[in-house]
């Protein structure tokens, strides 16, 4: 038997979702606005979308671009961030560059990238890549900078070369921080994925959403919002599982309950 407290904890996310949907339903019924369908109408449209082969191909294409963009960004950003964190020279070189890129919404670069590379997969993947890179670089940089010097000294005394120290000491020591960056990056990948498809309409989940908007199919629009939201929640949950497993050694042992009773 689960204790009542544990039961509530388990059920909490489900209850939150139901509450949100109920609120939506009531608001929509009260407002009686054509462009604001009820929750039930939106949910009813979901099977139509997922049942349609064309739509499914679109959504899978989105996910593929996102996975490639995210994967390449992580592969490139972690080494760069770690090097920046351990070498003043590298940091001095890349910091100004990143400072310039940081505040620019990556989607705003899309028109230019489209001019160069067309409206296809490469452009969209590149925009996702750019969106993911910055938080991962930043967190890798901060993580590497914070690595205790004596830990590196211990490694050096055991005969690890500078490159070995970077891979075998700085990388694992900074991993919790790096994965925090990756988690932010994952959400940003989803956002830039949709935005890129809004700008360069051709295929993808964003394409379905904005086409439906143009045609006034508001139940489809909201169904797509639910689908994208659900994808985000699932990806984040999976990532969190992996993350927790990788950095078990650094997690605080007990979560101290904040009692509200």
């Amino acid at each position: 038997m689960m204790s009542p407290a544990a039961l509530i904890r388990r059920a909490a996310p489900v209850l939150a979702c139901i509450g949100l949907l109920a609120l939506w339903q009531v608001a929509s019924l009260a407002l009686k606005n054509d462009s604001f369908p009820t929750a039930i109408e939106a949910i009813r449209a979901i099977p139509d979308i997922l049942g349609d082969k064309e739509s499914l191909i679109n959504i899978l294409a989105s996910l593929r671009r996102m996975a490639i963009g995210f994967g390449l960004a992580v592969l490139a950003s972690i080494p760069l961030g770690l090097l920046m964190g351990r070498s003043r020279g590298v940091a001095a070189f890349f910091n100004p560059l990143l400072m310039v890129i940081y505040p620019v919404p990556k989607a705003a670069l899309m028109p230019i990238i489209m001019l160069w590379l067309g409206v296809g997969d490469i452009t969209k993947t590149l925009v996702i890549f750019l969106g993911v890179s910055l938080p991962v670089i930043y967190h890798s940089f901060e993580g590497a900078k914070a690595v205790e010097e004596k830990m590196l000294w211990s490694g050096a005394a055991m005969g690890l070369s500078p490159a070995q120290r970077l891979v075998r000491i700085v990388l694992p020591a900074a991993l919790p921080e790096i994965l925090t960056g990756c988690r932010t990056g994952l959400v940003l990948a989803l956002i830039t994925m949709i935005t890129s498809e809004m700008i360069a309409r051709q295929s993808g989940a964003g394409n379905i959403l904005f086409n439906a908007l143009d045609m006034g199919q508001y139940d489809t629009v909201f169904a797509m919002i639910i689908i994208v939201g659900a994808m985000g929640i699932c990806l984040d949950a999976i990532f969190e599982r992996v993350r927790a497993r990788l950095v078990r050694w650094s997690e605080p042992q007990f979560d101290i309950p904040l009692s509200f009773s």
């Binding site: 004596k150 000294w153 950095v247 050694w249």
Partner: protein, 281 residues
């Protein structure tokens, strides 16, 4: 409780009393000046010259902030001195190496590795096969009294336990010179005594060179052949005292030995006479 490390035979050489002691570490007029925003040109070490004989146990004793750790880092090759030279076996020290094994005041364990993983790290790096490295490491872990904690992560250990892991991790790769920075500082009196005995046992068998930083006069006299007394601001060597007590040393015998007591009292008095006060005990 104490066990011979598997590769100890490499270290055991017949030591005859007639054999002239040869210097393994030579520190020649070393000074260390730190430039910080708060203090311009802070002299941490001033004109330190010290020779450490092969297989000697040398303690460095001095008040907090007198540069003991800094001196150890210079010998370790982690810090290069502002001026002067440090040599090991006649070669200038230009960087860290597995011939010198540090045990840091801050432990500096690898938090993503278990106790066993930490201790095995050095031997594995040195190319010892996994099974062999593990067997040796388990022996060492048992020796420092952590049997049963092999699969614990550092965050799950107390301060004293971490310190013992740090000691085992360094012993595991058999450095010729041990550089120990207050390795027993965070231990309770009982464990401290036990580890002092264990360290002496290992040392009397293997005869590595040990450079040992401590705040404790008793500990320094009990363990050492030589006690280097340092003074503060700037860090200087005040006096080097040879501890002429028989070995192997047994704690219960030594505590009653008037010669031991005299060393302790004399050293404490010397610190008291100094204007910078005694070492924090």
């Amino acid at each position: 409780m104490t066990v011979v490390p598997a590769r100890s035979s490499e270290w055991v050489r017949p030591v005859t009393s007639q054999q002239p002691a040869s210097a393994i570490i030579e520190i020649d007029r070393v000074s260390q000046v730190f430039q910080t925003s708060a203090r311009k040109g802070h002299v941490a070490l001033s004109d330190i010259s010290l020779t450490i004989d092969e297989r000697a146990f040398v303690s460095i004793l001095g008040p907090s902030g007198c540069g003991k750790s800094t001196l150890l880092y210079i010998v370790g090759g982690f810090v290069s001195p502002t001026s002067g030279t440090a040599k090991i076996k006649g070669r200038a020290i230009t960087g860290p190496g597995p011939d010198r094994g540090p045990v840091f005041q801050e432990f500096a364990l690898f938090p993503w590795k278990t106790v066993l993983g930490n201790v095995m790290y050095g031997p594995r790096q040195q190319g010892v096969r996994a099974a062999e490295a593990e067997a040796q490491s388990r022996t060492l872990i048992e020796m420092v009294g952590l049997k049963g904690f092999e699969n614990f992560y550092p965050k799950e250990l107390s301060g004293g336990m971490k310190q013992r892991v740090a000691l085992a991790r360094t012993l595991a790769y058999h450095p010729e010179v041990l550089l120990m920075d207050e390795p027993f500082g965070a231990l309770d009196a009982h464990t401290r005594t036990r580890l002092q005995n264990d360290l002496l046992n290992i040392w009397e068998r293997d005869r590595k060179t040990v450079l040992f930083v401590t705040h404790s006069v008793d500990e320094a006299v009990f363990l050492s052949d030589k006690v280097v007394m340092m003074s503060n601001s700037p860090g200087r060597i005040r006096q080097v005292i040879d501890i002429d007590l028989p070995r192997p040393r047994r704690r219960n015998e030594l505590l009653l030995d008037p010669r031991y007591q005299k060393y302790v009292v004399d050293i404490e008095r010397m610190f008291d006479d100094g204007d910078e006060g005694g070492p924090a005990l």
